[in-house]
Each structure stands twice: as C-alpha cells, then as structure tokens.
Symmetry: C2
C-alpha cells in the first residue's frame, strides 16, 4: 500500500511525525510536506514564485520524503505530477495541530490538501486534533491507520469525496466513539485587533474568540465537543443546482 | 446602495478600476482590495503576520477605499469587521484578469472573496474576464451593474449562495447571451517545469496547459467557449450527505 502523507503545519511538526510512524506499519509512506507552517492557506497554489523541493530523511526508522517550499496543495500536486514514481493508493493530510471543523474547513490547508488528492481521483483523508497545545497525537494516528485500512478495504467512497476527521484531545479510553457528522458552523468574535508599530503606523492582527454557534447534535462541532471522533464525508461540487432554474427566470 | 468591492489582482488592476467606475453610477462603492496581486490564494487568511491597511484614493472621480497587505478573504473580513461604518448591501469581487471556471474556482482568490461575503450573509458576486491579456473590461463591468441591480431587486438568492460570472473576451455585440451553467472540470497537462538556479539547486515552476476536458454543454466552461456569459450559483456546504449512511455502516 502506497500512502502519500502531507500536512500544513510543516514536515517537522509532531502531528505528521506521529502519522508517519503509525502509517509506516501498514504501508510504504512518502512524505511530501511544507518546509514550514502553512496553516490557513486554504487551497492556495504557488504560481508567482518558484517552488523549492529538497529531500528530507529521518533516521529512526530510516524513511525519506520531500520538503516543499509551498502550500499543502502545492505538495500534493508536485508529489503526484513530479516526485512519486507511482501514484499513491491513498492521500493522508495531518495530524493537524488544532481542529478543522465546520465552516473552518474552507480556510484549512490540511483539508485542502485532501481535496486536492480527491480532485486527482485518489481516496483522501484529512485528520486534525482538537487542541492547539497538546502533543498527544497517538489516538489520532491509531484511528487514522484503522480508517485508511477501512477506506481501502470497503472501496465504497465515491469519486471526488474525502473524509475529514477531527479527534478530541482525550485519552483513548475517554473517547466515546465515532460519529459520522455533517459540517457545522464555526464563528468568531473580535476577529481584528488594531495596533500601532514603533513608527506609529497602523496594522491589524487577525485572531478571534470562538462563539457558541447554533450547531445541531448531528454536526462535527457538537460531536467532538461531546467526546466523539467526527468523520465527515466532504465533496467539492460547489454548483448550487436547485437555484439554477430561479436564476434562469431572471432573464439576464 | 452600499457596495463592497474587492479582487485578487490588486487594487491597481484595470479590472477592479473598471468595476469601481461602473458600480459608482448605481451606488456608494467602497474598495477594500489587496495592495498587490494575490491570485491563486484560494480562501487563505493571514494569521501569522500582521495585516497593514492604508487608505487609497483615486481622483477622477474622487473615490477612496483601503488597500490591504493581505488576501482577498482578509479584505472582506477586515472590511466587514473593522473598516466599514455600515454593512454592505452586496459584495462584488473582480473583474478578474483571466477566467475562474469549473474546478479552478477552488483555487481562486476572486471567488473566495465572494464566498467569504456569502459566509457573512451578504449577497455576493465574483466576476472574471476570460482572457489574461485583454484590458477590455467594459462588457463585464456593464453586465455586473445589471446583475447587481437584479440580485438586489429579486431578493431571491438563497442565503450562503454567491454568483460566479465569467465573461468572454468579445465585443458586446458578439456576446451570444447569458447562460446559467454548472461548474465544469478544468484540467492541465505538464503542470511542473523543473529548472536549476545559477548555483545548481533545483526548483519547480507551476504552470500547465489546459486540456480539453469532457465538459457538457450545461457547464460554465462550454458556455464561455461558445460566446455566452456564464452565471453559476455557488454554495459552500461541503458535506457529502448522501454517503453518510454508507460510512456509518463501516462501524468505525
């Protein structure tokens, strides 16, 4: 089994290293990941700058991959188009440091890498840990191994579909189970802080505190909050078919 | 009518300047756009760097806005959250230099700015000209004026829906009409070129030549190719509902 592994926190992040080790037990893993953090880059691609690619190895176990001075989507494209000798059986992105839930997936580099994989026609999984601080990636890594095996065994994921997984930051025994959940809504308050630099020039920081949005029990947000691992099938056919007739009636 | 105008080619681009002039005839336009080109940035947001914001004015007609050292999505967020005194009635993004058709909308900064507007609950339109070279934005600008008026008059665009518009690079008399079309598939060949810098170090350029994909007549790709303006309603509910039951049966 050939697994292409990427992320958006950079090739040296603990989350991808944990997955690298776990996935190596079930297949041949090739890591192609950003050289440094590229979170919140969505599905951006690098078209105005050249993209540097270097080989990257770790020694225990001795495994090699590539680090790319680009976005997660760049990594998947360059892996499939230029670096890999053979196409992967599956693409895995993560484990992300921090959740990628609900509408936040639109901004996520982690999820976008999996979307890019699915665009190429490969099964793809994005995995995130619901904590910015924790380094406890073992539960997420073990679940991902199981999920990769299941996806390849079942062969029933439709084309152009990926799975977005969020894992609570809990010991394995406290995880209440797995919920197949829809994407919820994530909203923030006080998103911008205005500041002045030492020369008196204005700038803003983007931040924000999460607001408790009206998310039903069937959402990924609620599932993870309740201690479940959420698994959401994600598509990217953005056409809003049901409104097309109405717009035709506008007679533009 | 208050119109928020942005783009991904930068505030000085001809496309946004054409829209600025045309839209000023029907409403109060506030431009909040990137200081320089930010195309192919998808829905990336700037969270690891401060965001600079400067006032920006042109003199004939005398109108002012803000230029933002950030992505198109940053522009919409900072406009709505920090810069505008009152919420806009509609958000317009463009006119983009080059098409944003089919699956390419996933990478588009122009379309992502409109998605961000729709996320906030505003009607939103993304407009692109099907040419990288042409500076003939007048047809697109005039159509956008008509579309903005229609959207606000009809009040029938569902929440969280935007319109993605692509305009052929043709004189107005040669445009065959308007087609409400679904997003097609856009694919490229020979995406990466490998090169070596003067010190012998390898790098890649991302480029690629468009391949003729199997797009039906009902697609935006086919519509624009045939000389029609394409209008595609776009949503961003990425949950793949119909496969959820199947995945539940996997008993993860």
């Amino acid at each position: 089994m050939r697994i292409l592994l990427t992320n958006d926190d950079g090739i040296g992040a603990s989350g991808i290293q944990a997955l690298w080790q776990s996935l190596s037990e079930i297949g041949e893993v090739t890591v192609v990941a950003p050289v440094s953090e590229r979170s919140a880059t969505s599905q951006a691609i690098t078209v105005h700058h050249p993209i540097r690619v270097d080989e990257y190895c770790i020694n225990h176990p001795r495994v090699c991959g590539w680090r790319v001075d680009g976005t997660p989507t760049d990594c998947v494209k360059i892996a499939v188009e230029a670096l890999l000798d053979e196409p992967p059986d599956i693409i895995v992105s993560g484990v992300n440091h921090g959740p990628n839930l609900g509408t936040d997936v639109l901004y996520s580099g982690t999820v976008s890498a999996a979307i890019e994989g699915a665009l190429y026609g490969f099964p793809a999984i994005a995995v995130s840990l619901n904590s910015w601080q924790s380094r406890n990636f073992s539960v997420a890594a073990r679940f991902t191994v199981r999920l990769v095996q299941t996806v390849l065994e079942k062969q029933s994921l439709p084309p152009r579909t990926l799975l977005n997984v969020n894992v609570p930051d809990l010991p394995e025994t406290d995880i209440r189970g797995v919920k197949v959940a829809k994407l919820g809504v994530v909203q923030y308050a006080n998103i911008f802080q205005r500041r002045f630099d030492p020369r008196g020039r204005m700038y803003y920081w983007m931040g924000g505190e999460p607001i408790d949005s009206d998310n039903g029990e069937d959402s990924d947000v609620a599932a993870v909050k309740a201690g479940y691992i959420s698994v959401t099938p994600v598509h990217f056919d953005l056409t809003h078919y049901s409104i097309m007739k109405e717009i035709e009636n506008w007679r533009l």
